[in-house]
Every structure is written in structure tokens, then in C-alpha cells.
Amino acid sequence: MNAKFRDLLLTTFLAIVLGLGLSAVMILFLGKNPLDAFGLLFTSIIRDQYTFGDIFVKATPLIFTALSFAFTFKANLFNIGAQGQFYIGAVIAVWSSLLMGGKVPGPLALLIVLILTAVGGGIWGALIGYFKARFNANEFLTSMMSTYVALAIMNYLLRTVLMEKKGEYPQTDALNESVWLPTFVPGTRLHIGFILAVLVAVGIWVLLYKTPLGYRIRAVGYNADAARMSGIDAKKLYVIAFFISGALAAGAGYTEVNGVQHMLLQGFNPDIGSAGLGIAILANANPIGIIFASILFGALNVGGTIMGQMSGIPSSIIELMEGFVMVFVILSYFVRARLENRREKRKLQKKVEE
């Protein structure tokens, strides 16, 4: 194993341990025994199949929103509007599923819903890219603001055209079972959306690093001037990159609506965007790393919830754990660079002394 890779594993592991350790210290303030609490966290997630499966259920949408951020990040662009793109995706997924459920054969309907969701979320995202390309509008700002607009749109639709038939609450009717994403592990609610997410993550990695399009997107992101001088149309690529990013975030809407909730309601997953961003950080924006980081967050979420439920520790412990782990992971970037530097310098010194 080369030293760099060893550093990566070691420092990341250490960061996670320290992050959890600090959270454990916080638990002391509550007058509870952190060892018991964490014991519970670790044993509970492997308690039964259903709970264990839930880790991956949780990880699924996170993979999508993390990819959404990471994809543009790799191109030196910022899409922090994944939350809004997720809302748009969820709205389209639920709408089209309601229309097709029971009328169109399940698998076909699911495929159409997926395509519509991705395209819809993509277009919503592409607007950000278009504004940047056409008006040089700062994408950080427009993507941030677009989330609030998307939320308003979703809320409006939920209480008007999408509102449930009995007309009581701003939520949709439940979807027909034919448009549920099938589960693939009996006794759990682990649906094939997880497999989709993993495949998409791999696909995004291939797209970014193995295809000319991905190559061009990265080139534009790192150096738009050089890209232009090479005949690459930066403006077009902004739109494409944000389209893909938006489609990815919308994918989370698809798996949450068709795979988990089977309906859409107000206040649906309000933190999925920022969690995705955090995961992208954890994984250093590497699509494959994102799969693992999402599973870690999924486990913290599932375990943290059960821990809260059984030991009387408030559920904010989850955010605390996630926050600490993220901060330590960022510190680990620094430590790694330091270690690498030291190593090089020592090598040099040895060479000079010889």
C-alpha cells in the first residue's frame, strides 16, 4: 500500500473517531454514559435486517445530492441548490407517478418517471448554468436562491393541483403500488434505488474521468480561458454541467418518492441538500468515495435515531456527530498534506546528505 493511500485511510478513520469521540464528550454533559450510548449506536444498526437495510435506504438520496454537488465542484463550479432541485425532482416524480400509476405497466412507468424527473430537475438546474453563461450571474448566489423558489413552487402545488383527493392536507395521495420501486432484500425496505444510486455514482466517475465530455467539463471548470482557446464552448458546458447536476439531485427526489415515501408531503426531507454537500466533503468529491461516505451518514442517522429513542439523548446528537466528523475530516485534509510534505522533505534531505 502506498504511503498516500495509507494516510488517506488512517486520517479519515481518525477524523471519524475523533468526531464521534467529541460528541461522546458532549453526551457527558447530559449526565449520560457515552459508552452505553455509543454501544447502543453500534449494536442497534446491526440489530435486525430491517434496521441494517435502512442504512442503505438513508444513504440512497444522499448519494444523489452529494454527487450533484461534487459533479459541479469537480468542474470548479458551485451548485448549492441541490435541495431545490430535489424538490423539483420530487414534484415531477410524484406527479408523473400519480398520472401513470396503475395505468401504465409498472416497470415502464418507473422508467418514464425516472426520465421525466431527471430531465425536469436537469432543466431547473440548467437554468443556473444558463444564467451564468448568458449573464455571468454568480452561480453560488442563483443556486442558493433557487432552492427557496423551488420550495415555494412545491408548496403551492401541494396545496392546489397535487393535493390529496380528500382535500385535507397539503400532501399527495399515496402512489399506486405499481410505481413503487421494488425492494430487493426481503424484510427490509431497501429498494432498487440504492443500486441505481451506486450505478450512477460509478457512471459519474466514468463520465468525469473517462469521456471527452467529462474531460471538457473539468477543463472549463479549472481554466475557462484555456478551454475557450481550445475551441471548447464554455457557455454550453456550464449549461450541460448544471443540467447533469440538477438531474442528479432530482434523482434523490425519485428514490425518495417512488422508493420510500410513496407520496409527497410538505416539509419533505428539508436537509438533504446540505447533508449531500457534507458528504461530498467527506469524500473529497470523489464519486466512489461518496458511496461510502453516504453509507456512513446513513449509519449515523439510523444509529443516532435509535440511540436517541432508547437512551433519552436528544436527536440533535446526529447533527452534532455529523458536524464534528465533517470538521475533523476537513482537518484531516490539512494533516495529510502536511504529512506528504514532511515525507518529501525528509526524502530530499536524505538525498542531499548523501
Partner: protein
């Protein structure tokens, strides 16, 4: 199996033997909906000797898994606070026939083990309106709801109709009510701004049902020196000169009532168990700023309601 528990001599389970859980959508220290429900749980554990557990801050995506989680572990009764749990409860129930699912504020029951309990909130708002109608000076009522939904609209319909009618009877011919939705349950600052605007437009009596948004509205009312009718919990303690009266949802009584039903085996499925003024779960709380005369009028109104003499349904606009 652990779910069976030990039996007492009479052959009946003791209260402590039941495995009961309460699912809350927010933190128990939210100073409103979740805190109220949590207080009900505490009361049951104290007075009935149950050992109810709770889980807080459960997000929409986790409703189903949380229900399943308790179902798997053989709980006897799983309660959830809020109508938003209806779908998930009905969906999960079939897989765990031994567990009873009870959604507080629930309105849907499709299954022998799904037994929602529903406090008729429009009866509570009726009580609030009885107070408000007497308190107002200029007959300008302002209401703020969290999000528009049917239950919310119904309770605001009742409030507005009753309070305006009373004001008119008192000779304020131009009495009217203005309604707004905050589209939020927790934005305190927004609550204060909205209430401030409504008061600026002339309102002199506020009524808000929007959790923490209401706390902001109370601030505005206090600063502008108008009256506020508290709702859902005893809000008179926050600002006794502003919130001169409050309609307290006595969830302690409500929970005890529900749990007794359950332990007596009367919490049947396929049915919505409603409770209201008659069951004593809506209790007006007054400060010294409210005259005995008003209190009497309110009592009389409640009496009528509990006898079933008031046709609330006719007041619903939709």
C-alpha cells in the same frame, strides 16, 4: 416473547407491562405541539403508572421505518403525534397485527389495529372565539394559521364565525376577521412581522395556531398592546397582560383518556376516536384581566356545545 409481559393475578396486564411508544415529529422542548404531547406522556406515566417511551424529531422520510421499528420489537401501542403520520401508520399496520397504532390528530383508520384519536380542535377554537368575541373593542379579528389544511381551515372558520357574531351582537356592526397563513410552523420572526402588520392594519384581537410562529405573534401583540387569545397550551404565562386568556388543550387528560381506552380494550380499530369539550380536553385558562362576566358567558357556551346544541359543521366554509 418479551411483548407478552407478566400477568397480574386478575389476569389483566398492569399498566407498566405495556410496551408503549410515542413518536414526535419535533423536539420535545419546542415549547408547543411536541412539548404538549410530551407532557401528556409524562402525565400518563405519572398517574397511570405506564412506562411510555418516546422518540423525538422524526422526519417525514422516517415515519414508516420508525413505526416498523416498534412493530418489529413487539410494542403493544405505538402513538404518533400529528396527522402527518396517518399514511404511514395505515400502511405499516397490516404487517404488525399485534401492535395497535394510534395517531393523535389522526383522521384515517383502515385496519383493525389502527385507532386514531382526534381532538376536535374546532371546538377549542369555538371556546377561543367565545372569549375573543367578548374581549374585542373594535371587532377587528386577526388569525394566523401555520399551513392551510382542512382541519386548520375548519377551526379558523369556526373561530371567525363565532367571534364576529358575538361582536356584532355586542353592537359592533363592522366586525370582521382577517386570516393569514404563515406557511411555517417555526419561523418566530415571521410570526412577529405578520402579526405586527395585521395589528397595524387595525386588528385588536389575535388568534394564532402555528406553533412557534405564534410565539412571535405574542411578542407583536404585547408591543402593540392588543389582546391575544392563546391556543393549544396555556400561553397566558408568557405575557399575562396580552394573552389574557388561553384555550389549553389538556393533552394530559386527553392522553390519559386515550390510554385508559386502550387498556380497557376499547381503543378499537377502523374508527376515529374523537374527543372535545365534552371530554374536558379543552380548558379555558384566564388571567385576572378577564372579568367574571366573560367567564360565565364562556362557560355557558361550552355547556351548549357539550350538549351537542351547536352545529359546528354548518360553520365550515368548504
Amino acid at each position: 416473547m418479551s411483548g407478552c409481559g407478566t400477568k397480574t393475578e386478575t389476569g389483566k396486564k398492569s399498566a407498566a407491562d405495556y410496551k408503549i411508544a410515542l413518536i414526535l415529529p419535533g423536539p420535545i422542548n419546542d415549547q408547543s405541539w411536541n412539548a404538549t404531547n410530551y407532557a401528556g406522556l409524562v402525565k400518563c406515566n405519572e398517574s397511570l403508572g405506564t412506562k411510555m417511551e418516546y422518540i423525538e424529531n422524526v422526519q417525514a422520510a422516517d415515519y414508516e421505518s420508525t413505526f416498523r421499528n416498534y412493530g418489529e420489537r413487539g410494542y403493544d401501542l405505538v402513538m404518533a403525534a400529528g396527522t402527518q403520520f396517518d399514511e404511514a401508520a395505515n400502511k405499516v399496520a397490516a404487517s404488525y397485527p399485534k401492535t395497535k397504532f394510534c395517531v393523535v390528530n389522526g383522521m384515517v383508520s383502515k385496519g383493525a389495529n389502527v385507532a386514531p384519536i382526534f381532538p376536535k380542535e374546532y371546538e377549542a377554537s369555538y371556546v377561543a372565539a367565545l372569549i375573543a368575541g367578548e374581549l374585542t373593542k373594535n371587532g377587528q379579528f386577526a388569525t394566523i394559521g401555520g399551513f392551510p389544511n382542512q382541519a386548520m381551515e375548519h377551526l379558523l372558520d369556526v373561530y371567525e364565525k363565532v367571534s364576529v357574531d358575538i361582536a356584532k351582537q355586542r353592537g359592533i356592526s363592522n366586525a370582521k376577521a382577517v386570516r393569514a397563513y404563515a406557511n411555517s410552523w417555526d419561523d418566530v420572526a415571521l410570526g412577529k412581522q405578520m402579526a405586527g402588520t395585521m395589528i397595524g392594519n387595525g386588528a385588536d384581537t389575535m388568534f394564532v395556531y402555528a406553533n412557534q410562529v405564534g410565539l412571535g405573534a405574542i411578542q407583536a401583540a404585547k408591543e402593540k398592546g392588543i389582546k391575544y387569545v392563546g391556543f393549544s397550551s396555556d400561553q397566558t404565562t408568557i405575557a399575562p397582560d396580552t394573552v389574557v386568556a388561553s384555550v389549553n388543550f389538556d393533552f394530559k387528560t386527553f392522553y390519559v383518556w386515550a390510554l385508559k381506552l386502550f387498556m380497557d380494550g376499547k381503543l378499537d380499530g377502523n374508527k376515529v376516536h374523537e374527543a372535545g369539550i365534552k371530554e374536558n380536553i379543552f380548558v379555558p385558562v384566564y388571567t385576572k384581566n378577564v372579568s367574571q362576566d366573560i367567564k360565565d358567558k364562556v362557560s355557558a357556551g361550552m355547556e351548549k356545545a357539550s350538549k351537542g346544541e351547536i352545529d359546528f359543521k354548518s360553520m365550515f366554509k368548504k
